[in-house]
Every structure is written in C-alpha cells, then in structure tokens.
Amino acid sequence: MATMTYLQAISDGMREEMRRDERVFVMGEDIGAFGGAFKVTDGFLDEFGADRVMDTPLAESAIIGTACGAAYVGLRPICEMQFADFISCGFDQLVNVAGKMHYRQGLPTNITVRLPSGGGFSGGPFHSSNPEAWFMHAPGLKVVAPSTAEDAKGLLIAAVRDPNPVVFMEHKHLYRRVKGEVPAGTYETPLTARIAREGSDLTVIAYGAMVHTALEATADLDGASVEVLDLRSLVPLDEEAILASVRRTSKVLIVDEANQMCAAGAQVAAVIAEHAFEHLDGPVRRVATPDVPIAFSPPLEQALLPGVDRIKEAARELLDY
C-alpha cells in the first residue's frame, strides 16, 4: 500500500479505472493540458489522450447534459465541476435528466459528478459551498462524501461503476491535508457508514472534512469515550449504522459544514428522532454553518464554519446532560 494524499487517491482511482475500463473518460473545464484547477487530472492527457480527457467549453449544463447522453450510449463519464458551486449552472440537467431517467424510463444514467466542495481557505461565497443536501433532496441521485484517502479512491471507483448518477463530494480542504495508506489496484468502498473511532458515551456523526474536525475535537474530552461515525455515503444513507451507534451511546451530536437548514444533518437528526427516540438520553444536537453565504475574510469564515471549539462545547453539554 502506498501513502498518498486525498487528492492523489482521487486521481489514482480515476486513473486505475480508466486503465481498466475504456468506457470511462473525464470531462471538464481546464482538466486537460492544465490538469484541472486542483491538478486532480494532472498527467491524464498524456496518458489517455484528448478524447478521454476532454477539455470542455465553459458550460456546466452542457457538461452534465452531454455526459448523460454519453452514458446512454454506453460510456461512463466522470464530470469535474471546477468548484462544487458551479453545479448550480448544471442543476437542471442533473436533477431532471440524470436523476429522474431511471424511474421514468428504466434507463440508468451512469455518470459521476465530482464536486470540489467546502470552505476553510477564503474561497468566499462562490468557492466554498457544500451543496450535497440539494442532491439528497433530488430523487434518483446518489451522493457520497469520503473523508479519507482510502475511501476517496474506493468511493470514486464505486461511483464510476455504479449504474446510477453519483454526486461525488470531494472536500478541497482535505486535498493535501489528509494522507493515508491506499491499496493499489481497483477496489470499491461500500456506500455505508464507517466507525472512525469507537466510543460509548456519545456519538458524533459527520462526513467529509468534518470527520477530521470531529475526531480532533473529541480526541481528549475529559476522558469521555466518544464514537465518531463517518457517514461516507449520504444517499443511500446508512440509517442502520446511525441508529445502532445511537442505541449504544444514547447521545448524539451531528456535525456538518453545510448551511444548517435542511442540511444532511437535519435528515440525520430527523431519522434519529423518529427511529431511536427510546434510546436517546438527551437532545439531538447539531453543529453546522449558519444560514448565510460563506464569508471570504478569515475571521468571518472561521466564525461560520464548525470548528473544534464549537464541537467541543456541544459535546461537553451533551456529556453533562
């Protein structure tokens, strides 16, 4: 096993799968000669050629819509949005064409849409967002959000092989900060939750970058034993794993980086309040980003994004409950 960054793991997953399966190709803005805004496809043009590493016009609706068409004739496109935020411009094709085709017509849409998401480095209101909940609320789309290098590769490959449209949330702040052992070759990470740390006093549920923030915040919390559940997949949502953990610990804190209203965390809270009510020994707490755009200036941005301190405080309150 090699050690690589989260970013390298995503590249590696795509590269391996493209070598294995000639139906797979990548498309997006500046992904060819330039290697992508974050260099995720660096070197791909040389290895796979311009046909399979397709620099597109600046047109997100077209990226998603033509990818759907290519999928219907048997290809497996991986679309890169330059930033997750720009998916707003391809929103219609994603929710209405890709999301609804199978239910309506029995025709699956085998596309993977990579969304470099998340804040933490002064990207401002248009380069920091976490739009996953929009897609959870759009039937027919799967949504995954890896937090580790190993899962980034495995979920990328699983997404490409899945016959359905999969929105792949890759958190920009993890790109080069997170490293880990990554198996060689191709493998699929299942679309289920993973226990990032076992514990018995409190469950913290998170995904993507917030898994790391949650782990850090609860590593040493006055000796409490805190379980951290990494959702990994948002659609399907691993309700069993969520409920099992809450049954064990009786207390739960949900952390997500998205704006709080109708976020993934709201769905998780609703599932728990409905199906684990009898096992709860305290309110279902949430830490998320307030309902404003992500501000640019560092002190403002830091005040908005869930950080170690807010998580610690909420966790302590629950432990003391």
Partner: protein, 360 residues
C-alpha cells in the same frame, strides 16, 4: 421576419426536388406513418375526453411530416430524443400503438409503466431516450450521444427535435456551440410551429434562429415542415455529412401547430386566417396525393391504419393500471438487473437501409 421557407418549395411532384432517394414504397411508408400518428393521437384525444387519459394531452396534429420524415432518414443504430409533437418518430422506430395508448392512459403496459405520462417516453430498446419536460434539455443529451459516437469512432448519428420557443433557452446555445466546437455527428431539428404555448415567434427572437447556424459554423437548412419528403432529404443529407465527420447541422422545419398547446387550450390567440392558410398545406393530404399518383390505394391504407388503431385501443384498454405497491421502486437501477444502455432494436424502414443491411 421572413416566415416563408427559404428553400425551393416544390409542388406535389417529388421528383422536382431533392436527390430522389425515396422509392414509391418509402413514399407510401411515410404516408402510412403519418396516418398512424394522426390516428393514434385522435384516438388518444377521444380517450382523454372520456376521462381515460389523466393529466393533460399534447399532440402534433399538422406537424406529422416533421417527425416522420426525420426519423425515416435514420438507421437502427442511430439514436433519438423525440419531443412532444413528434409521435411519428416513435412510430417509425416501431413502438406499438397499443403501448403508446397505454402510456397516455397511465397503464402498466405503457412504455413508462405509468411512471411518466403522455408523450414523455422513449423506448430505449429502440434507441430512444425519453424526453424530460424541461425544454430543450434533450438537445444536450443528443449532443452527448453524438459525443459518445465520436469517442468510439462509430458511424452513427444522434437526432433531436425542439421548438421555436425552446430556442430562447440557454441549453439551445450550449448544445449548438458544443456540438460545433467538437464537430459532433448530431442533427438538430428545429420545429418552428409558429407558437410556444400562446407565445408568438416575435416574442422569442428578432431574427429567425436558422440564421444562427452560420454563427456556430454549421449549415442551417430551412425546409417546408409540411413536406415529409423534404424533411427526409434534409435529414438524410445532414446524416451523410455527420458520418464523414463534418459535424452537426441545424434544420428548421417550418410548420404550424394546428391544435392548442394541450387539450385544454382553445387557441384564442391564433388568428383564424393563419389556421386557414395552414390547413390548406396539410402534410398528410400532400403526401397522399403523391402516393396516389404512385398507384397506391390510399383509402385502403387509411382503412388498415384505422383497424390497427382500433385493435391497439382495445389492447390498451385491457391493460391493467400499475400496482401502487411498486410506486416507490425504481429511482435507482440495480446492477443485478444487468447493464442497460440504448439498444439497436429500433426499426429503420427506409429502403436505403433495407438494401444496405441497416448500416446506411
């Protein structure tokens, strides 16, 4: 704005225009498909009035030449996104009328098994992707299919239809531009039927959109949309062009929506004289005259089609409604059910394909 067609409009003599690819058999086939389209839609409208078709009902009365003529020019290996005025293309591909009527009525035997309604369907076993309502989203899907063909060096084309109103939306532009930058084998058939719901052309554009073809670097061909053979020839030529790698073509078929936007629409906004004028150009009458001159018994053809639609109606009425217990199934495809992509099962009845073994 000039609305008369720019191309050489022939009279009723097919030999007077076009390279004459069509045999008498093809000509009769075109007529038969148009008759079938009109007949199926008339029957569906009756079923709608009887309360057997839920929701709303849209048809393509008066526009039959566009979808029939265009689909006629395609091979079984080609791919289509068929729009809401274009039932004829489904019929040319071989979709059984009973399944279409079942579709309108929301029956389990309809193409989408009641999941979607009216003409929002595509038979993927016949190379067709079912349209979404958002117009003209399918232009990008067709462009993407053509992208797939190019990527795999396949000799195939994709074709889609869209309306005059749909030209105002961003996806129209993204599709034409993308297809031209990548030189894709795709054929865009703009069906100018004078209205988008109640909105006349002048509210959608200042210059007829065929003029945009130049600006995208592709040929723009304006044809009489009420002449199935002229539509066929234009699509045929665009297809030949696409197959040699010369890229996309924009075809404008000028026609008229002779019914309301949907069944509920009384079309008060259409001047009666405009309807009168177009009634005289009925595409079926025109083709029937040609075919009659070829010696075909058109009345017998009409009779055959009527019987076929009668039988289809009975068949469709006998189909059960879908099982409500299945309503929440099917958002996702289960890989265990095997790979599903568009298949070549569609019919390509043009004699040119029959002779060449379907490969055009």
């Amino acid at each position: 704005m000039a609305l008369e067609t720019a191309g050489p409009l022939a009279g009723t003599d097919p030999a007077a225009h076009g390279p004459g690819h069509l045999t008498p058999g093809d000509r009769a086939g075109l007529l038969r498909s148009m008759l079938l389209m009109r007949s199926v839609e008339e029957r569906a409208m009756n079923l709608y009035r009887q309360g057997k078709v839920p929701g709303s009902f849209y048809d393509g009365f008066g526009q039959e030449a566009v979808s029939v003529g265009a689909a006629w020019a395609l091979a079984a290996t080609d791919r289509l996104c068929i729009l809401h005025r274009d039932l004829g293309a489904h019929l040319v591909r071989g979709v059984p009328p009973a399944r279409i009527l079942g579709q309108y009525m929301g029956r389990d035997g309809g193409i989408t098994r009641g999941r979607d309604g009216n003409v929002h369907f595509g038979d993927h076993t016949r190379g067709c992707v079912g349209m979404v309502s958002m117009l003209p989203d399918m232009m990008l899907v067709a462009t993407g299919m053509a992208m797939g063909f190019k990527l795999r060096h396949q000799d195939r084309v994709a074709l889609t239809f869209f309306g005059d109103g749909s030209t105002s939306r961003g996806d129209f532009h993204e599709a034409l531009n993308w297809a031209s930058v990548q030189r894709l084998p795709v054929i865009f058939v703009l069906e100018n039927n004078q209205y988008a719901y109640s909105t006349p052309l002048a509210a959608q554009f200042v210059v007829d959109p065929i003029a945009r073809a130049d600006a995208y670097g592709m040929p723009g061909v304006r044809v009489d949309g009420n002449d199935a053979e002229e539509v066929f020839e234009a699509v045929h030529a665009a297809r030949e062009r696409a197959l040699v790698g010369a890229g996309p073509t924009l075809i404008e078929a000028v026609t008229m929506r002779m019914h309301g936007h949907a069944a509920h629409d009384d079309m008060k906004y259409v001047p009666p004289a405009q309807l009168e004028e177009w009634r005289a150009k009925d595409p079926i009458d025109r083709q029937a005259a040609r075919v009659a001159r070829d010696g075909v018994d058109v009345d017998a053809l009409r009779e055959e089609v009527r019987a076929l639609v009668d039988a289809a109606t009975q068949e469709a009425l006998a189909m059960p409604m879908p099982d409500p217990a299945t309503a929440h199934h099917g958002a996702f495809h289960d890989p265990a059910d095997g790979e599903v992509v568009l298949a070549d099962g569609g019919e390509a009845p043009w004699s040119g394909f029959a002779a060449a073994g379907g490969a055009g």
